[in-house]
């Protein structure tokens, strides 16, 4: 026995540790359960998966929603821009198709300058302009056909056959072009374009430039080529080139300009060309804003910490009262998860008649903690003020009150009775409305995405004005709302 070596001791100890089964009757589940209730209390059953959106789900969902919205909006804007660009390039690159320029195009009815509505007046002005242009020879046939020949250059010869081109037609006057309007029937535009030097002595020709630019956009610029393409003269009409910009690229257009030989109206060419049209500013009414919002919601009651996140999802509606001030409301579905001390939920002992000495019912055990889940609709009513705007970025603050329309309450009570830990589930589906129950303060940042869409992130704090629910709890809520908003065009007007 005395020669027990270290190896023997180790071997015996290992064997004993492996095979010896101590009596475990001293262990009891109830004691462990109490520890578990304290350290890892059983969670209430999860609600419907749609409304119990966990952060790992709603976070990427919001990013995905924002990304898709941004892509769609940007892609739509790009396609529109690229289409316009292509149209412009086609206009510049392609020569005019005479078959398309037969004067059959539809155009908005011309706006007639009242001053020019008098045919006699218009004719007199035409005559005056012809006289003043000493270098030009104007001939006119009975059908209103006119040919303008620049004596100095001898290049221009135009021919038009159009009913509107009657000498007595007031619209035939170049002065009939009203600035800012897409003027005239095709015949009128032809006349405007073909009139060439005749136009240049007019003091106010901003309408021409506007008409040209409008024609460029609408594809009507080709109409000015008809006379320029006339085979009767066999020459390129430089005047028509000037107004029918589509015929040559810009550098060629400048190279092909006719010389000026003491023609006062010709001196105004560049002035006419460089003169920018006076556009009226267009005001678009974007006062109404609708949005889709979602985000996490953290709720605490008193000093008890919470390890669960609720969520908000809903619609928002805003209306701008002024440029910066707007009133906002909405309709949100909100789930709140929270832990509370048991005192607010402690059932009050029933009052017994005075002659009853002993209560019929045992008092309810002291409730230690309560895990609650409340589902409700929230209607906020807030005023928003945009404190900073730069480019497409807006910073704002928001304040107001929210009403809770409580729909579902689920509580798990934790308490001990006779040394045993218990959990007790309690549900309440009464519809309880709490108008303006919480104050709502938030600030946020809004990024314009274009096409009336915007994305905003808005941290918020909701502070209770009153208690709600079974425990009459005053809940503090904190969270972050992500919104995709759309501002439809309510109207346009020029100012």
């Amino acid at each position: 026995m005395s020669n027990l070596s270290d190896k023997d001791i180790d071997r015996l100890s290992r064997d004993a540790a492996e095979f010896y089964e101590p009596d475990d009757s001293m262990l009891s589940w109830s004691k462990l359960e109490q520890q578990l209730v304290k350290h890892i209390p059983e969670r209430p059953p999860d609600g419907p998966s749609l409304f119990r959106i966990r952060p790992l789900i709603w976070g990427p969902s919001v990013l995905l929603l924002a990304g898709i919205s941004y892509f769609i909006i940007k892609n739509t804007a790009y396609r529109r821009d690229s289409t316009l660009q292509t149209q412009r390039e086609n206009l510049i690159a392609k020569p005019a198709d005479p078959s398309r320029l037969s004067g059959k195009e539809k155009a908005p009815a011309p706006a007639v300058n009242p001053q020019e509505s008098d045919p006699a007046n218009a004719q007199a002005r035409k005559n005056n302009s012809a006289k003043s242009n000493s270098g030009n020879k104007i001939s006119r046939n009975a059908e209103g056909e006119e040919a303008v020949t620049n004596a100095g250059t001898g290049v221009s010869a135009q021919k038009e056959n159009h009913p509107d081109r009657s000498p007595n037609n007031p619209d035939a006057s170049p002065n009939s072009i009203i600035p800012g309007k897409n003027n005239g029937t095709p015949g009128q535009r032809n006349q405007n374009a073909n009139a060439g030097n005749r136009l240049r002595h007019q003091p106010d020709l901003s309408g021409e430039a506007n008409a040209i630019s409008n024609d460029l956009l609408s594809g009507n610029a080709q109409t000015g080529f008809e006379a320029g393409e006339s085979e009767a003269n066999g020459k390129q009409n430089a005047t028509a080139e000037y107004f029918g910009v589509a015929h040559l690229p810009y550098p060629a257009m400048f190279l092909s300009q006719p010389e000026v030989h003491g023609n006062d109206s010709s001196l105004n060419r560049f002035a006419v060309r460089n003169k920018k049209p006076e556009l009226k500013s267009l005001q678009v009414n974007h006062s109404l804003v609708i949005g889709l919002l979602m985000g996490p919601d953290y709720t605490d009651v008193g000093t008890m910490s919470n390890n669960q996140l609720g969520n908000n999802i809903g619609l928002s509606l805003g209306y701008y009262l002024t440029r910066r001030l707007s009133v906002n409301t909405g309709f949100q579905y909100t789930s709140k998860y929270y832990w509370s001390d048991g005192k607010p939920f402690q059932p009050q002992p029933q009052r017994q008649p005075l002659n009853t000495m002993i209560s019929m019912y045992a008092p309810f055990p002291q409730i230690e903690t309560v895990n609650g889940r409340s589902s409700m609709f929230e209607i906020p009513l807030t005023l928003r003020y945009d404190i900073y705007r730069h480019d497409k970025l807006t910073l704002y603050v928001n304040a107001g009150a929210s009403s809770y329309l409580l729909r579902k309450q689920h509580y798990t009570y934790f308490f001990h009775n006779a040394g045993q830990a218990y959990e007790w589930q309690n549900k309440n589906n009464d519809h309880l409305n709490y108008w303006f129950a919480v104050g709502n303060i938030s600030a946020g940042i809004e990024q314009d995405l274009g096409k009336g869409f915007s994305f905003q992130a808005e941290p918020f704090v909701r502070l209770p004005f009153r208690g709600i629910g079974v425990g009459n709890l005053k809940m503090n809520s904190y969270g972050l709302l992500f919104s995709v908003r759309y501002s439809p065009v309510l109207g346009r007007k020029r100012k």
Partner: protein
Amino acid sequence: MVNGNQHISALITGCRQNDRNSQKDLYQVLKGYAMKVCYRYQHNNHQVEEIVNEGFTKLFKNIHQFDEHRHVEVSIALKGWFKRILVNTCIDHYRKNASYIHGQVLSEETEKIADHGETGLDRLSYKEIIEAIRLLSPAYRTVFNLFVIEGMTHEEIGNHLGISVGASKSNLSKARENLRKMLTKKTDVKTYVEPIR
């Protein structure tokens, strides 16, 4: 065994969802094993129970870290993982109470406890050996358990207990010597008895 694995896997899944019934069932499965591990680290049965419950609480809290799909024998893998939790819990208890239990004076009562095992080496039961280990002082017992039974090195023991390698070796040597005396019925050996708190 497949059915046993499935049962254990189902219990683990339930424990992940914090289901009390699953926790209770897993507790019933593992409590004997937990008792076996912790019993030799503590002399006081109440503390054994405390450590076991603490170990189970840690197990249920961190059950999501255990991946049963990586193991063929889920039960064995779970026991191995649980054993590490229990041993670490025992070490934590030792370190927490180290300042208190160091320097305790052995009483005459310990000699009486050591006396009632009068069988020879060949007739020693596992219970007597384990009980002898439990009678060692906490420092000797812990080092002996970690080195001989858990297979740790002195460096690892030193790191876990916050002692030097030399102290670990010294404690192991003294633990063996005391154990040898107890097992060979040397009645003059002074063993440790847990002070009453």
